[in-house]
Symmetry: C2
Subunit: 177 residues, 2 copies
DNA sequence: CAAAATTGGTTGTAAAAAGCAACGTATAAT
DNA sequence: ATTATACGTTGCTTTTTACAACCAATTTTG
C-alpha cells in the first residue's frame, strides 16, 4: 500500500487521523468505552485478525490512548485501559454514532441508546456552540489561520480590513498561482 | 488487503466508519468544508493520488455526502459540493480538530482557528450534553440496547430491576459463555 | 500436583488497496 | 486554430490487511 503519512500536514485533523484514522482503530476505542479490557475480548467482540489487533493496541499504547496494566496485581498478563487522552475522544465517538444513527442506520434502528445516567433520558445531540452556548450552524463558523499556521496555510487565506477597522478572513477557493 | 467490511456490524459507529473511515476520506470532507470544489484543487491541496481521489469522490457521491453539479451551467465538467448529509458531519470534524489541537498539535500550534462569525470569538469546545444542556462527563453516559439492537447486543447487557422498580442496565465486561 | 485449556500473542502467505507515472479525452484559454 | 488545463483512467509496484497455523506462559480442572 505504501500509504502516505498525514503527520507532516499542518492540520490537526490530519494529526488526529494519523493516530485514530486507521482501519479498526476507532472501533477498538469504542470497545474500550464499552468496558472491554482483554485482548481476547477485543478480538472476539470485533472479529478482528489477531495480528492487526496486536498492532493497533501497540500503536494506541504508544500514542497514549490506552495503557497496559497488570491483569491482576503482580501478573505479567496485561489489560488495556483508556487514558484521559483516550477518554477525551468520547465527543468524537458520540458525534459519529449520532451521525450514523441519523444518516445511515436510521434513528429507529439505533442499536445502542446513550442516556444521561442521572435521569435515564437520552443524551442530547452533539453540537458546535459558541463559547457562550449559542448553537452554531455550518455557516456560522468562520475559519482563520491559527497560531501554528505555516506559509501554505496563510496563502489559503486572504485578509481584508473593512473600513470600520474590523479584520476579515476570506478563504481562497482555488490554488494560488 | 482483502479488507473486511464493517457494514454488517450492528453499530452505528461501524456504519459511519464504513462511509467515512477510509484513508483520505475525512480529509476530503474537510477540504470541502474549506470550500474546495474542483478535482484538481482537492488533488493539489491534499497531495493525494489521482486514482484514489477519483475513487473516494465516487464513493462520497454514491453515499450522498457530496453531489456532482455542472461546473458552469450546461457544462459537462463537474464540481463537488457538500450535501446536508455531508455538512452534518461538521460536529465530527470539529470534535476531531479540537482533540488534535489539544492532544497532538498542542493548542499553541493550532494551524487553524475556528470562530463564531457573529462575534469573531473562538468557538466553544464540542461537548456531550444532556437534552436540557448539562455537560456530561465520560462516566455520566450510560449505555443501553437501542430499538435496533439484535440478539448479540442484548447479550452484552444485563438488565436489573432495583427494588423501587427502576430499570438498570449493566454492560458485560467479558464475552458470555 | 499434573494435565488440559485459555490467553496473548507471533509468523507465514495470499489478496487487496494505495502510490506513482504515463496516457487520453474533453473543455477552456490564447 | 493551437495550446494548455481539467478530470480522470490504466498499468505496475509496494505495503497492508486478512486468515490460519503455531507457540509459550498462565489459569483452570480433575
Amino acid at each position: 500500500m505504501k500509504r502516505v503519512s498525514f503527520s507532516d500536514q499542518r492540520c490537526s485533523l490530519a494529526q488526529a487521523l494519523e493516530v485514530i484514522g486507521e482501519w479498526w482503530t476507532l472501533l477498538i476505542i469504542r470497545e474500550a468505552y464499552f468496558g472491554t479490557r482483554r485482548f481476547s475480548d477485543f478480538q472476539s467482540r470485533l472479529g478482528i485478525a489477531r495480528n492487526v489487533l496486536s498492532d493497533r493496541l501497540d500503536r494506541l499504547v504508544e500514542n497514549g490512548l490506552l495503557q497496559r496494566e497488570p491483569a491482576s496485581p503482580g501478573a505479567k498478563r496485561v489489560h488495556y485501559r483508556l487514558t484521559d487522552k483516550g477518554r477525551n475522544l468520547v465527543t468524537v465517538v458520540v458525534a459519529l454514532v449520532q451521525w450514523g444513527d441519523r444518516w445511515v442506520s436510521g434513528p429507529e434502528n439505533a442499536p445502542i441508546r446513550m442516556v444521561d445516567r442521572a435521569t435515564g433520558a437520552e443524551i442530547g445531540d452533539v453540537q458546535v456552540r459558541s463559547q457562550d452556548g449559542r448553537p452554531l450552524a455550518f455557516h456560522d463558523i468562520g475559519l482563520q489561520p491559527g497560531p501554528g499556521a505555516d506559509q501554505a496555510i496563510h496563502e489559503r487565506f486572504q485578509e481584508t480590513v473593512t473600513n470600520d477597522g474590523a479584520v476579515r478572513w476570506r478563504i481562497r477557493r482555488h490554488m494560488a498561482e
